[in-house]
Symmetry: C2
Subunit: 429 residues, 2 copies
């Protein structure tokens, strides 16, 4: 216990950085008690020293030169809250200089996590990234420690707040997609360019981080299948509810005998499933382990204070370790390179909504197409038709994606079938 204070450098004082500073001010005594030693934020890297901020910070702490933090031998911990891939060089320099790194950077951990963890190990330090996924929800530490006795079989997460907010407003209040998106933007739950959120890219990044840890494997971002929610129609939410489901954008990772399956797509979730109750901007991760069974972690997936809460939790662990002159090691070092199974080899139940001519033989043709591809039907809704057109909704049993796609291809060729409006995967009840 050679020190009486651990000195910290902060890279970035934006949304999350302000949260971190506020928490250290508000709960400083408790943080100190848990860490066992004083923590001093010595320097904070900002772009503009004059900018007005919603947290009080001694102006003499601010610097526009990263080197003042990275090259200061007194600073033992670097908290990287700049975000984006440009932060990589800072993180690498900090690790090479044997500083502990705490980061909230999902892009960086998703694409370079394994390499950074190796670099940390080689330098006898470590990199902590609880805040990179799920904002304030404890996810990384539970996967590493609390569920450490389990082989993880499956992850299913609602890990993008923007899309969950939109889907909740559409489902509970009957908004159309564009109305819900506008609301989300007005309330700060969606960015002005929401493409990365709507198309599932943000969730796919986070899935890479979680799946690496859960399945102990390198995950290449390009192997994650992505489908977004931009084409989702309110009608599908209405039918889903009639069948006992809601629709959520899920990030799913599974380990099967053939390999890993990794995908982000909208799916029908049974109303009795705990993920169905995850509303508005909240996030949740459902985990299936071979010992524990099914557990779920729920909470705010973003925001200044929640994400700050995760960063400061990491800081307490790091400082506690430094105080006890302990480094109990990087746990995620021996990632394997597990095979990723192509989507069409997977099994799913499917929801299908289509328009058909209300004439003899159309429904029989539909039924035959499924039957010929060995796809069996679980639920069917056909309402009274209008102007000679019927809307049909079908839910299949769990079948090979390949077979379902083959049936769909047959159906599209029928003269009596109008439009295939929607196709979604279904989480079985």
């Amino acid at each position: 216990m050679g020190k009486d204070v651990v000195k910290v450098g902060l890279l970035g004082l934006g949304t999350v950085g302000s949260g971190v500073m506020k928490i250290l001010q508000m709960n400083g005594e408790q943080v100190r008690g848990r860490a066992g030693i004083n923590i001093e934020v010595k320097k904070i890297l900002v772009r503009n020293k004059q900018k007005a901020r919603d947290v009080k910070v001694d102006p003499s702490l601010l610097t526009t030169k990263a080197a003042e933090i990275l090259q200061d031998p007194e600073i033992d911990v670097v908290i990287e809250l700049i975000g984006g891939l440009d932060a990589r060089e800072y993180v690498e320099e900090a690790l090479r200089r044997k500083k502990y790194v705490i980061t909230a950077n999902k892009d960086l951990m998703a694409t370079a996590g394994a390499s950074l963890l190796r670099l940390a190990r080689d330098n006898g330090c470590n990199i902590y990234y609880e805040a990179s996924v799920g904002g304030g929800i404890p996810l990384i530490r539970p996967l590493k420690h609390s569920l450490g006795a389990n082989r993880i079989l499956r992850l299913a997460g609602i890990i993008n707040g923007t899309t969950n907010y939109i889907l909740t407003r559409m489902d509970l209040e009957g908004l159309e997609f564009t109305e819900a998106l506008t609301e989300a933007q007005a309330r700060g739950f969606a960015e002005q360019d929401p493409t990365n959120d709507l198309e599932g890219k943000d969730a796919a990044y986070k899935l890479c981080i979680l799946a690496s840890l859960a399945f102990n494997s390198h995950i290449d971002f390009d192997t994650v299948h992505m489908e977004g929610i931009s084409n989702l129609n309110r009608r599908d939410l209405l039918y889903a509810r009639e069948l006992g489901f809601t629709i959520k954008l899920l990030a799913i990772g599974e380990e099967m005998p053939e390999g890993l399956a990794l995908r982000v797509h909208p799916a029908l979730v049974p109303l009795t499933h705990p993920l169905a109750g995850v509303l508005f901007e909240n996030n949740a991760l459902y985990v299936e382990g071979n010992a524990v069974g099914e557990v779920m972690f729920y909470g705010p997936g973003a925001g200044s204070m929640p994400t700050g809460s995760s960063v400061v939790a990491d800081l307490i662990d790091v400082v506690r370790g430094i105080n006890h002159q302990v480094e109990n090691g990087v746990m995620e070092i021996d990632f394997l390179d597990k095979k990723v199974v192509p989507l069409e080899e997977l099994n799913s139940a499917f929801y299908l909504r289509l328009q058909a001519q209300d004439q003899p033989g159309v429904f029989a043709g539909l039924a035959n197409a499924f039957s010929e591809e060995m796809v069996s039907l679980d639920m069917i809704i056909q309402k009274r038709s209008r102007e000679g057109k019927a809307e049909i909704v079908l839910v299949t049993h769990v079948e090979k994606e390949k077979n379902f796609n083959a049936a769909l291809a047959r159906i599209q060729k029928f003269p009596g079938i109008g439009a295939i409006n929607s196709v979604y995967r279904v989480i079985p009840k």
Copy 2:
């Protein structure tokens, strides 16, 4: 790194002990990898060596003498899975002999946790108890570490699987209490004598453990207010649903400026609240922190493998620490003695169901009684009356318990009021 194996003694090979052994067999390689060193179960204390068990164990490991474990200097870790307060002397002896202890014993941790933690610290070791609350759900570690940057404002948990199973069957399937209890017993979710579960004692024990940690205070079991579910009528679940609620047995701990409030009682929970979706034997803990906001942990609250999963997670942490010759300290050592606020000083919304004569003036009298005690009403249901009797259901706004009780006392004296059937607290929407 002086050792090449850490030796463990197991006290008890019942439900949880069998789960622990199965997990070590099934996931042994992974556990070894995470712990960084081999783990050997050297001895297992049992009552009867000949008893048939549903896990394969080398018979030479079994002993009926606790001393063979507690006094073996080769054994560094003692896992106590006997349960009950009689186990205390074993745990104390193990700690005095500087062995790490892992326990799933909620009675012991609830009533003697602080003293055992002190004993552990004084002997330079530690006691781990993730499995004592919430079965397989990570709760202790998240409260200690992941939420360490937060001042915890409030805990609300469904932490008794028996009562939640019963309430779920009553709510979703319309069973009466006694039918649901019989079903729970038949399926192994309720004991033959279910008193401790039904009356809230089991949940109160667990609340003591969680609240000590969350609020950093000694908690005296006798200060926890308890109400059970034995008198719950299906009609209340039906009315609750009509009003947008379900009924759950909640364990609630709060820190207020005046002190702590600790209670276990049935409560109306809004259907949109994440706790409302916790069904059947599952458990969940909802935590409100002053930085993170609201998070929830959900999963199986009991059972051989889930509880074993928590025990083995603790074992990995302990062995990892031994392997790195690290002890980063007992964190829960400086418990304060915070004041507990009497129930009647608390504020709650209330649900009230009563029978009244269907005659002029009765409802006005009811309304006046509330008004005179400054209790305002939020929702009212009165269905068409039968045989001159009306059933009235009222929900109040959040008011002082004292005032509500005073209003209730007035109402009970009215000649036109028949029976007060039910009174429950309500978690506001």
